[in-house]
C-alpha cells in the first residue's frame, strides 16, 4: 500500500464512536445560533423567500441541535449556512468554517449519540427486546474536518509570511485599532512583546498544522491550540471562529478515546 492509498484509507476507513460527532453537532448549532440567531429572525425579512428561508433555517438547526433525522438536519443546516455565505454574502472566514464543518458532519453518524434519533433507536430496540444500538459508524466527516483544520493553519501561516507580521508590526496595528487609548507603546519592551506575539503566533500555527496531522503530538498541540484560540477570542473580535476551532479539535482526537473518556467521567469505567 503506497502512501496515497494509506492516506485515503485513513480517511474513508475510519470507524469509531459517534460521540465526538454528536458533541460537535450540538456545539456547532449553538455557535451558529450565537452568530446568526438574531440576524436570522423571521421578522428581519418579511419578503416571502427570506421569511420562509428563516423559518427553514430555524427548523433545520433545531433538528440538528436535538439530533432528529440528524444527517438530513445537518445537510439542511449546511445548505442554510451556504446560502448565508454565498447568497446573502456574509463572507468572513468564521461563517465559512461553520458552513464547512456542518457540511462535513453530514458524513458522520452524529445522530447515533446524544440525539432524538438515539432515543428513538433505543425505544425501538427495547420494544424488540434487542440490545441498545451501538454508538458507532464511519467517521469520514471527522477526517475531513481534521484536514480542514490542518489546511487552515497552513494557509494562515502562509498569510503571515510577511516581515510586518513576523516582526510584530501587524500585531501593533491590531492593538492600535482595538486598544487605542491605553498608550501601550509606553510600556517598556512593547515592540519586543509584539514581535514575540507576531512571530510566536506564526510558529505556533505552523506547529498546529503539523501537530494536528501527527497523533503523537496531539497531547501537546491541542492544549496549546485551545489556549491560543481562547486568548485570541478574548483579545480580538473574531466572532465564533476561535470557539469553532476549539470545538473542532474533537474531530482530531481519536473518537474511541473520547467515548472512553466520557464513560470514565460518568463512572462507567474504573481504570485507564
Amino acid at each position: 500500500m503506497n502512501s496515497l492509498e494509506r492516506f485515503i484509507s485513513w480517511g474513508i476507513d475510519y470507524r469509531g464512536s459517534s460521540r465526538s460527532s454528536g458533541l460537535i453537532r450540538i456545539g456547532l448549532v449553538f455557535l451558529i445560533w450565537a452568530r446568526f440567531g438574531n440576524a436570522m429572525l423571521p421578522m428581519r425579512e418579511l419578503e416571502t423567500f427570506g421569511f420562509l428561508f428563516r423559518i427553514f433555517y430555524f427548523t433545520a438547526t433545531l433538528a440538528m441541535a436535538v439530533g432528529f433525522l440528524s444527517r438530513w438536519a445537518c445537510a439542511a443546516s449546511a445548505w442554510c449556512l451556504g446560502m448565508i455565505y454565498f447568497y446573502y454574502g456574509h463572507t468572513p472566514h468564521h461563517v465559512y468554517l461553520l458552513f464547512i464543518a456542518t457540511a462535513c458532519l453530514v458524513l458522520t453518524p452524529s445522530g447515533k449519540s446524544y440525539s432524538v434519533d438515539r432515543w428513538l433507536a433505543l425505544r425501538r430496540a427495547e420494544r424488540k427486546n434487542l440490545p441498545p444500538p451501538e454508538e458507532w459508524g464511519n467517521l469520514l466527516g471527522l477526517r475531513l474536518i481534521t484536514c480542514q483544520l490542518v489546511v487552515i493553519y497552513f494557509w494562515a501561516v502562509y498569510g503571515k509570511m510577511t516581515p510586518a507580521f513576523l516582526l510584530g508590526v501587524r500585531f501593533q496595528h491590531l492593538l492600535a485599532e482595538f486598544y487605542g487609548g491605553l498608550n501601550l507603546e509606553a510600556i517598556p519592551g512593547f515592540a519586543w512583546m509584539c514581535l514575540i506575539a507576531g512571530g510566536g503566533s506564526a510558529i505556533l500555527e505552523a506547529g498546529l498544522a503539523v501537530g494536528l496531522a501527527v497523533p503523537r503530538f496531539h497531547r501537546v498541540v491541542i492544549p496549546a491550540g485551545v489556549v491560543f484560540h481562547l486568548v485570541i477570542y478574548v483579545l480580538f473580535p473574531v466572532h465564533t471562529f476561535s470557539l469553532t476551532m476549539i470545538l473542532l479539535y474533537l474531530a482530531v482526537m481519536p473518537a474511541d478515546a473520547v467515548h472512553w473518556w466520557i464513560d470514565w467521567m460518568q463512572g462507567m469505567r474504573r481504570t485507564r
Binding site: 480517511g11 487605542g180 487609548g181
Partner: protein, 136 residues
C-alpha cells in the same frame, strides 16, 4: 463503491488544500475558494501621531497630547482620539494642541499610518507654527 468514496475524499481534500492558493497565491477573488488570512483588513489605516516642542531656550520635550487635551487617562478619551483613521484627524488634533501651547514654543508633529507592509511615516517633525491654522 470504495474507490468512488476514496476518489471523492481525495477530491474534497485537494479542494480544501489547494483552494486557498487561488486567492492567497494568485491574488484572485472567489468566495468558493476560501482564503485563510487571519485579521485581514484589521488594523489598517490607523494613524499614530506624536508631538514634540522646542522652547525658545533650546529645551524641548515630547508632548503628552492626550493629557494636554484633557484626557490624562487615554481610556476616557473620545473614540476619534483613541483611534485615528484619517489624516484630517491628525491635523485636528494638532490644531487643538497648538492652541494650548505658548505661541513662542515650536511644535513639531510626526505621524505614521498602518498598512499591510507595516508603518509608513507620513510626517516627521512637521512644523506646526502658531499661525499654521489661521484664525477665522
Amino acid at each position: 463503491m470504495r474507490n468512488l468514496r476514496g476518489a471523492l475524499f481525495l477530491a474534497v481534500v485537494l479542494f480544501m488544500a489547494f483552494g486557498p492558493a487561488y486567492q492567497q497565491v494568485f491574488r484572485r477573488e472567489c468566495r468558493a475558494l476560501r482564503a485563510w488570512v487571519m485579521f485581514e483588513g484589521y488594523g489598517l489605516n490607523i494613524w499614530q501621531v506624536r508631538f514634540r516642542i522646542e522652547r525658545p531656550d533650546g529645551s524641548g520635550e515630547e508632548v503628552k497630547w492626550m493629557a494636554l487635551l484633557g484626557y490624562a487617562d487615554g481610556r476616557k478619551a473620545p473614540a476619534d482620539l483613541r483611534k485615528i483613521t484619517q489624516i484630517g484627524q491628525t491635523f485636528a488634533i494638532a490644531k487643538e494642541v497648538r492652541k494650548r501651547l505658548p505661541a513662542e514654543d515650536k511644535l513639531f508633529m510626526s505621524a505614521r499610518v498602518s498598512g499591510e507592509d507595516g508603518w509608513t511615516e507620513i510626517y516627521r517633525d512637521y512644523s506646526i507654527s502658531a499661525d499654521f491654522f489661521p484664525a477665522r
